[in-house]
């Protein structure tokens, strides 16, 4: 037993004699809040306003804030404006194959928290509902839903449940989604009638039935085996 005590003492020594060093938290910029309004004319025209608030004292490279914009379905923004305190801000664009990087030039005196607005329009093909959004490269801190997306289409349309972000309950022509960060695009699907047999519902119920089916078949075969073993005994 002596060996056990020596071993335990050795292990305990190593654990107790070492203190944990935590990385020091550095101040970084983060997404404080984003309110996004998307208005659809029901024929593929979208008008979008993103109100963004950044916070934190962290550095910005060349006093610029970088944003990504997905080029999904080759959609590009029209009449794009970055606005701060009612004034339009300069920006530069770096185009790549599947995304574009927009570098917003901040005013010279900018320190700490910074609020601005991005306004643009989109025109998409009929049957396409993908709506690209500008994503600043700073993440939101914590676990709160700091991003609100209000989507509205014309009154004769109904927003379907197979949209992204997913709808929590059936909606009409208006929906508000709450998220932890800005997605690269949203996909609010709408039509004149509620489509119950959409791909999401079908895949969901098929998944449940397949899983339950396998479990039931397995339980039945286990019961059969145990009865057979019981019979032999």
């Amino acid at each position: 037993m002596k060996n056990i005590y020596i071993f335990i003492c050795l292990v305990a020594f190593f654990f107790i004699s070492k203190e944990i060093a935590y990385a020091e938290d550095l101040p970084v910029k983060s997404l404080e809040k984003a309110d996004i309004e998307i208005s659809s004319d029901g024929t593929g025209g979208y008008s979008i306003t993103q109100k963004i608030q950044l916070s934190g004292e962290g550095p910005t490279q060349n006093n610029q804030v970088e944003h990504t914009l997905t080029r999904i379905n080759d959609i590009t923004p029209i009449n794009l404006q970055f606005i701060h305190n009612g004034e339009e801000l300069d920006y530069t664009v770096k185009e790549e194959n599947s995304l574009a990087r927009y570098f917003l030039q901040l005013p010279e005196e900018t320190k700490g928290s910074f609020e601005y607005q991005i306004q643009y329009e989109l025109k998409v093909e009929p049957g396409v509902f993908t709506t690209p959004l500008f994503v600043p490269i700073y993440p939101a801190e914590g676990q709160n839903n700091v991003v609100t997306i209000d989507f509205e289409t014309t009154q004769e349309n109904i927003i379907q449940r197979n949209s992204f972000p997913i709808l929590k309950k059936p909606e009409n022509n208006q929906v508000t989604s709450y998220l932890m960060n800005i997605p690269s695009h949203v996909n609010y699907i709408y039509g004149h009638e509620r489509n119950i047999l959409n791909s999401y519902n079908v895949i969901s119920w098929v998944s449940i039935f397949i899983l339950l089916g396998i479990i039931v078949i397995w339980i039945r075969s286990e019961l059969k085996n145990s009865r057979a073993i019981g019979g032999v005994n």
């Binding site: 037993m1 060996n3 056990i4 071993f7 050795l10 292990v11 190593f14 654990f15 070492k18 203190e19 944990i20 983060s30 997404l31 990504t68 997905t70 999904i72 790549e96 194959n97 599947s98 995304l99 993908t130 994503v135 600043p136 490269i137 700073y138 993440p139 801190e141 676990q143 709160n144 839903n145 197979n162 992204f164 972000p165 997913i166 929590k168 309950k169 989604s177 709450y178 998220l179 932890m180 960060n181 800005i182 997605p183 690269s184 695009h185 791909s199 999401y200 519902n201 895949i203 969901s204 119920w205 098929v206 998944s207 449940i208 397949i210 899983l211 396998i214 479990i215 397995w218 286990e222």
Partner: protein, 487 residues
């Protein structure tokens, strides 16, 4: 805080009812400790394989690994072949022989092979401490999932998850654990068949996601990690998995050596489905949400904001299932360490009924101790969580692998290997501060192996009667030598 569809409540509550029912059904015929701890050695290849896979996958797989893929991209998937190499080592040189030994606990093997009660107790203590503390991370993860879905405080979420796991483990023992693991593994692998295509259809398709991520950061679709790092990860996981006591304990539950090999094969299929899905899941989420503060939130956001409610709820259930299957496996292994290894040595004439009573009390105590540390974590806890897999691997790898395959491995060699391996890990981590960024398990296992070989050559061999169990022509099983009495 997330906004949740009501379907989440129904699916999660339905899942809890299902695993409790399966646990009750599986455990209703348990009479002896052999029934309780090794499921009467009755588990077949499919259920056994699913149980091996479910036990191996934890909250870390669905939350942490997906988070790493979210942040770093595809290259991290190459740690899996290292882990699977560990499984192959187990399938060829370890698991079938372990199954034939017909033991109940892993420390029991240490005693039987090396003729050492001290080694058995050290092994039991290491398992109990390392795994109990390891549970803390699982408890916190379970609490966070329940908090996310039901909005209840994290600690109550942990209590509910652990409470349900404890109930079916107590009632049904290893059989309930294996059966519920089968259901859990089905959900873990099955949910992805729906989830991944839906995720990619929302993200713009496989081609677009690949192009987008390459433009966003070329290392996401290329090589974020280099060969040296990936070999290090793979070796660390492989060494740990080949001899993980919570997996070896499950090997005892399988019918025969052939079943063991088949079960490991099935387990690899489940793991491959999850490995590929978790990789694709992390990358798909990166293209939908390019800047999340932590990759760990990718799986929850995918479940709640991207997937349809029923599939999303199944993904949350898969995370809960991965936690519960790991917790139940660890509970069984740790509690049997107390009831059969430590209590068995302290009271050699204890009856099977007494051991079972101690086992059940141990399950309850070991279930709640980590809960206290989950509420009030202290520095040492974080160290043990960080080092536990390496400590266990460095302790067991050489003595199990060589013990089953090399007659000359001696008691002194085993003691040197166990202690040397653990001390090497501690020095590598806490004194040398992980030089060359090499995972501590690699020097730990190497030193342990070298010590076992050298010391064994210069010391007295293990008595022939101990070797007969493992190398004898008649291969007498442990159970035949020490039959377990019925209660």
């Amino acid at each position: 805080m997330f906004e949740i569809s009501p379907e989440f409540y129904y699916v999660i509550i339905g899942y809890f009812i299902l695993v409790l029912a399966v646990g009750w059904w599986a455990g209703k015929n348990n009479k002896t400790s052999e029934d309780h701890l090794v499921a009467g050695r009755s588990i077949g290849a499919l259920v056994g394989g699913a149980a091996l896979a479910a036990t191996q996958m934890s909250a870390g797989t669905f939350v942490g690994t997906m988070g790493v893929h979210y942040l770093t991209g595809a290259s991290y998937i190459w740690f899996w072949p290292g882990l699977w190499a560990g499984w192959l080592v187990a399938a060829i040189w370890i698991a079938p022989k372990f199954q034939k030994f017909n033991g109940v606990t892993v420390p029991e093997f240490v005693e039987a092979r090396y003729n050492t009660k001290v080694g058995k107790i050290i092994a039991a203590i290491l398992i109990i401490i390392a795994y109990s503390v390891y549970l803390i991370a699982q408890y916190v993860a379970g609490g966070i999932v329940m908090q996310t879905v039901f909005g209840i405080p994290m600690i109550w979420g942990a209590v509910i998850t652990i409470g349900i796991t404890m109930v079916y483990t107590l009632k049904g023992g290893m059989k309930a654990t294996a059966y519920s693991d089968f259901v859990q593994a089905l959900i873990m692998a099955g949910c992805f068949f729906a989830a991944i295509p839906l995720l990619f259809s929302q993200a713009g398709g496989f081609n677009f996601v690949g192009n987008f991520l390459t433009d966003l950061d070329s290392t996401i679709t290329g090589w974020h990690y280099g060969a040296k790092e990936l070999i290090g990860f793979g070796a660390a996981f492989g060494f740990s998995m080949a001899i993980a006591p919570y997996e070896l304990a499950r090997i005892y539950t399988l019918r025969d050596a052939k079943t063991v090999r088949l079960a490991i094969g099935f387990s690899l299929i489940f793991q491959m489905v999850v490995a590929i899905s978790v990789t694709l899941g992390g990358m798909g989420m990166r293209s939908l949400f390019p800047v999340l503060q932590t990759g760990d939130s990718a799986s929850s956001i995918m479940a709640i904001n991207v997937l349809p409610p029923i599939v999303g709820a199944l993904l949350m259930v898969a995370i809960l299932a991965s936690i519960m299957s790991t917790v139940s496996g660890v509970m069984i292994v740790s509690s049997s360490g107390i009831s059969h290894d430590i209590f068995g040595v302290l009271k050699p004439n204890a009856t099977d009924r007494q051991k079972m009573m101690v086992n059940r009390v141990a399950v309850i105590i070991l279930a709640f101790i980590p809960l206290i540390f989950a509420i009030r974590p202290f520095d040492m806890v974080q160290f043990i969580v960080m080092a536990q897999a390496s400590l266990v691997a460095s302790f067991f790898f050489a003595i199990v692998l060589f013990g089953l395959n090399w007659r000359r491995a001696s008691k002194a060699g085993a003691m040197a290997a166990m202690i040397g391996g653990v001390i090497t890990v501690l020095i590598w981590l806490f004194v040398l501060d992980k030089p060359y960024n090499i995972n501590e398990v690699i020097p730990g296992v190497l030193i342990s192996t070298i010590l076992l070989i050298i010391v064994s050559y210069f010391t007295k061999p293990v008595p022939e009667e101990n070797l007969e169990t493992f190398f004898g022509k008649n291969h007498i099983s442990n159970v035949n030598k020490h039959p377990i009495k019925n209660v």
